[in-house]
């Protein structure tokens, strides 16, 4: 029972961190039709900036906020200066965002070095709770809580605000949104910055969750995020959440029995979903 709960909470917590990465990726694709290969790099920058600020201040809240801010700023610059110039051209987008992924990854090495760094759990969130023999690790529960709060906030933003209505309408038909008087380019930039900020938040949390950060973590987690958005459906918020939890749980349970097969099983699941329902489990029905 202990092992089951341990694997379950680990799977859900990892799924939540990947959800933070995947939800931005998914909505950016749905709205702007940009498959952003540099999204994982924003996740990684979040992890490094978070760990750096935490190292300086020992204030985890400040570290997380700083990481989100850095991610949103880098995302805004990337969108305005580079990606906005290649809208509508998927080949150029892939080449450009792949190049950005490499540049942002190399910059990490320049600033913080190529080696693995320790990303400690803050004192207040270290340790575990014992509920009559059921051990719950505090930082995992914190990650799940943050993931749920962000999911709720993104849901309310999309469903209850004018910006959310514009974004959902833009995912369906950006041209018509413009014809109704909205500057879709500004909406694109805002959504890109928001997606980048969420990715950085995911990175800032994934660091202490895994205990260490490295310049390869962007690519590793981006691969998981792609699996998530394909399974859930590109452009679908609900799909991102369901897909991330599924991928997190499968990863945790398979890794317990056959560690080498964890990623392979998730990729296999993605292939099966692609074959049976190419739009993903929740795709094709709007955000």
């Amino acid at each position: 029972m202990d092992t089951f709960i341990n694997l379950f909470t680990n799977g859900i917590a990892t799924g939540m961190a990947v959800f933070l990465l995947a939800v931005g990726l998914s909505i950016i694709f749905g709205l702007m039709s940009v498959l952003n290969l540099s999204h994982g790099a924003l996740f990684m920058w979040g992890a490094y900036v978070g760990a750096w600020i935490f190292g300086l201040t020992h204030n985890f809240l400040l570290a997380v906020l700083g990481a989100v801010f850095a991610g949103a700023v880098i995302g805004t610059i990337l969108e305005r200066v580079t990606i906005s110039r290649v809208y509508g051209n998927h080949i150029l987008q892939l080449l450009l965002t792949m190049g950005l992924m490499i540049v942002l990854g190399e910059l990490i090495k320049v600033v913080w070095g190529p080696n693995i760094l320790i990303s400690p759990v803050p004192q207040i969130l270290s340790g575990s709770w014992d509920f009559g023999g059921i051990i719950l690790i505090k930082f995992r529960m914190f990650t799940i809580a943050v993931g749920l709060l962000v999911a709720l906030a993104v849901y309310l933003l999309l469903k209850r605000t004018m910006l959310g209505i514009v974004v959902r309408a833009g995912v369906e038909n950006p041209e018509m949104v413009q014809a109704l008087g909205f500057d879709i380019r500004k909406v694109f930039t805002l959504v890109f910055a928001l997606g980048a900020g969420l990715a950085a938040l995911g990175g800032a949390i994934m660091g202490p969750l895994g205990g260490a950060i490295s310049p390869s973590m962007g690519l590793d987690n981006q691969l998981l995020a792609f699996v998530v958005v394909v399974i859930g459906g590109l452009g679908s918020f609900v799909g991102s959440l369901a897909g991330a939890l599924l991928v997190g749980l499968i990863g945790a349970f398979v890794a317990w029995f056959i560690p080498e097969a964890a990623l392979a099983v998730n990729v296999l699941l993605m292939a099966v979903v692609l074959l049976l329902k190419p739009t993903g489990l929740f795709g094709g029905g709007g955000v």
């Binding site: 004018m162 209505i165 514009v166 959902r168 309408a169 995912v171 369906e172 038909n173 041209e175 018509m176 949104v177 413009q178 014809a179 109704l180 008087g181 909205f182 500057d183 879709i184 029905g285 709007g286 955000v287």
Partner: protein
């Protein structure tokens, strides 16, 4: 004239679609743009609305040049657009579709006036727009553009795919709307065009070939036959 288009040229990719369109739309009433399939009617509306960039030519709305401006700026200046496929957002509710268009101080009055014209939309308020019938979708599209405070509405083939009874309803609504707002209507259905239109421009192969009053066109068998395929059969047939 509320809208003046002079010698408009537009390319889509390498194709020279509009090759010298000129239109003069007086304020008030409805001006219909007629032409065969592929004549360039939809391209005319999309270029005026800023959804396609003109290659050359002039477009003036209320005396101000608007050619080449982005669509959202043109929309904020007072042009409303209903595309051929309705342009409604299927995943959004009827209410959300309408909220996107509601602006200005008189938005509540406008909404009440629009719902009086299309009471079906009130009943479908919380339904997903994608679940509406073809006629309801058209009403939603037209109703939505009425909320935008536009002075000129560009409406592309509102009768497309609709049953004759629904087309009649759409015609009645357009006749009500044109009492207060100028309409430019692209239409293949000549009966609807004749019912709603006051003025008319006929285009063929991307050029304006005839302009005048709708009653003049209805009496001009030569133009009707040559450019719209209406009336007497051709000699070879």
């Amino acid at each position: 004239m509320i809208l003046q288009v002079a010698d408009l040229h537009t390319y889509i990719g390498e194709f020279h679609i509009l090759q010298g369109i000129s239109l003069a739309v007086p304020e008030g009433g409805a001006t219909v743009v007629l032409g065969r399939n592929g004549a360039g009617k939809t391209t005319v509306l999309r270029t005026i609305m800023g959804l396609l960039r003109p290659h050359s030519g002039e477009i003036r709305f209320a005396g101000q040049p608007i050619a080449g401006l982005p669509a959202h700026v043109i929309a904020r200046r007072g042009l409303g657009y209903v595309p051929e496929d309705h342009g409604i957002f299927s995943g959004l509710t009827v209410e959300e579709n309408l909220r996107l268009a509601m602006r200005g101080q008189q938005k509540e009055e406008r909404l009440a006036g629009m719902l009086a014209l299309f009471p079906e939309l009130q009943a479908a308020w919380r339904k997903r727009a994608g679940s509406l019938s073809g006629g309801q979708k058209q009403m939603l599209a037209i109703g939505r553009v009425l909320l935008t405070e536009s002075r000129l509405l560009l409406i592309d083939e509102p009768s497309k795919g609709l049953a004759p009874l629904i087309v009649e309803k759409v015609a009645q609504a357009l006749n009500e709307i044109k009492k207060e707002t100028t309409i430019v209507l692209v239409e293949q259905n000549f009966n609807l065009a004749r019912t709603v239109g006051d003025f008319c421009s006929v285009i063929d192969d991307g050029r304006t070939v005839w302009s005048g009053g709708m009653s003049e066109l209805a009496a001009n068998g030569e133009i009707l036959h040559r450019y719209l395929g209406i009336g007497r059969r051709s000699e070879k047939a």
